[in-house]
Amino acid sequence: MVGDRDTADRYFEPQVETMPRRRLRARQEERVLELVGYAYANSAFYRELWDGHGVHPRDIRSLADFRARVPFITKDMVRAYRARTGDPFGGLLCVPGEELTSVSSSSGTTGEPEFFAEIWQDAPPLVTAQVRDLWELGLRPGDRVLSPPGTFRNLMDPGYQALGAVVIEVDTWMGRMHEVVEAMRTYRPAYLQMMYPQMVELEHLAEKTDLKEAFSSLKGASCAGQPLSRKMRERIRDDWGIDVYEYTSAADTGTAWECREHDGFHLWEDTVFAECVEVGEDGWRDVPEGDLGELVATDLDNRAAPLIRYRSEDLVRLSGETCGCGRTHARMWVAGRRGDETLVQGRSVVLRDVWQAVEDQPETVAGVFQIVRDRREVDELLLRVGYDPALTGDVDALAGRLGEAVRERTGVKPVLDMRTEEDLLKTMTSVAKFPRVVKR
């Protein structure tokens, strides 16, 4: 039985996952050159854009040509094309619409949801891209997994089932964590997909429930949607005994997961060509490896609607150094989103600093907060903060302490809008994301 034989084997596709970078780069070049011709021939968006820039596939003969000649695209450019033409796919579609298997979308937490056109056979693309990561986590045939909280990037079950896992149908969305704990004890699953609100809810349950015992069957749990703070991560790992694997978007081309080393997110570079750049008004440049830059991604395995040199707005550090796990595919460390920095009367305030101040108060240790602003430059720092009412005797006193802690971290005295955690989490409009920066 292949599954049994490979249980001790860390890699699902060893030849791909540990491929020498030189060979990986050669494969990427081959794929990019095919892609440029394909997109130009089939996508109205790319043809129009590249014609406007005087770019033709015949001029692109290497990765260097591709990077020198092919322009970046942004979410706003695709939205503008969609608004101008009425094409819901923003001109990206490279096949007739009737050839699509499915259409999923982004969460739409910061604007109109964007569509992802999908063609697949056995499992939708997003979860298929996670199969290697789930194998690394330890998922094996016959293991049980709890159903995920939502379906926002399509039904995830076929990906788990491709690995031979059995899906236990449990409503794992907000407000159901007591049932999840009960199901954990009954079914002893090996894997659980979690989102930030579930973590907050578990934090409340931890007082009266032995979570370490309840979660002891897990080989690992994943968490996505936003980074976990250091404190939350320690709590999950040390107090609840869960080996938690964070993952993030690979610039909308797939996902990037931590491996068992928990040292950066692996990009699967046979499916994405990643660049880390700094873009200014007078052009762009590569940032030195390990420095902070914007992740730019090109889809290498998407014939439906590939993203090509797509600026993700994610600020990351990228490294091609072989990971401790032996994989050669690049890793990235996410620092935040371009535009998340807030300028309060000219002073820079970043999410990380606010987060630490919020987490340092026992009543707000879950880190439920949002910066409320209509534009990046503001006169005052308005923070909406969620507190645990069971731990909060005097909200005004908490606000006083918290305001001072934020001032110490950021140099800015905030205006606080105190809510219960539950009230604030209820404003979520996606299973995937709790937005940290919101409009009034």
Binding site: E13, S147, T151, D157, Q161, A162, E169, W173
Partner: protein, 243 residues
């Protein structure tokens, strides 16, 4: 070096016969039953035939609204849509995701909307004219609590509902939601519905009261099917045909 290669590698693994453990609310609490791949294939075949009766065909689009824990029927319906070559969009059935349902509906103009919930309608009602939105949609398969709301607005909605571990799906005759007689037995006791596994099912499920008010109609439907039909009661009132 593509996702297809990854799945081809996965295809070499020995998969267990079991696909899902289905937990469902019953009259006396949560119950469970198992769903094998062979059963899922038969469920998919049945759903394909039902959706074909609604005129779903290649080249059309559908919008599916469901939750993450509804894969036991979602998998079969997605399989049916794929078999019919109908492209589907997907949104959550929870009320807070109504905006994506709205955007999918506006932009993709689906021929069919499947699994529409009362929570989604409630969310939509604050921002859209729900009747105007769904009246032009050829096929609206809605959950029991959503059906009377839609019908009151002139939308020709048909019933679509999980019934314990089974799926109930109304045909265009709108004379009750069909349940696959080859796989399930449904009954009515004291005005409430119950379900039991048929002999073909691997996992035995004795007659299980579901605590759902309704009744069962037997006999041949005008569509030609011999499947039993369930008629749900919502807020104490029967969801009568063509109401």
């Amino acid at each position: 070096m593509t996702r297809a290669d990854t799945l081809a590698r996965a295809g070499l693994l020995d998969r267990p016969a079991l696909a899902y453990v289905v937990r469902f609310p019953a009259a006396d609490g949560t119950r469970e039953t198992e769903l094998t791949w062979a059963e899922l294939a038969r469920d998919t075949e049945w759903a394909t035939a039902r959706l074909r009766e609604h005129g779903l065909a290649a080249g059309q689009r559908a919008l599916l609204t469901m939750s993450g824990f509804e894969g036991f029927w979602g998998h079969a319906v997605i399989g049916a849509l794929r078999a019919l070559k109908v492209t589907y969009g997907i949104a959550e059935a929870m009320g807070w995701d109504h905006r994506r349902t709205s955007v999918f509906h506006r932009e993709l103009r689906p021929h069919a909307v499947i699994g529409l919930s009362a929570e989604t309608l409630e969310g939509l009602s604050g921002v859209a004219d729900v009747g105007e939105m769904f009246r032009p949609t050829s096929v609206v398969l809605a959950r029991p609590a959503a059906v009377p709301v839609l019908r009151a607005l002139g939308v020709s909605a048909c019933l679509f509902s999980p019934l314990g571990p089974a799926l109930a799906l109304e045909c265009p005759e709108r004379s009750g939601a069909h349940v696959n007689a080859a796989e399930w037995r449904v009954a009515e006791r004291d005005g409430e519905l119950s379900v039991a596994a048929g002999e073909q099912r691997t996992s035995p499920l004795p007659e299980t009261p579901l605590g759902i008010p309704g009744r069962v109609a037997v006999g041949r439907c005008a569509c030609g099917s011999q499947d039993p039909r369930v008629l749900f009661s919502v807020a104490g009132r029967p969801l009568s045909s063509r109401s």
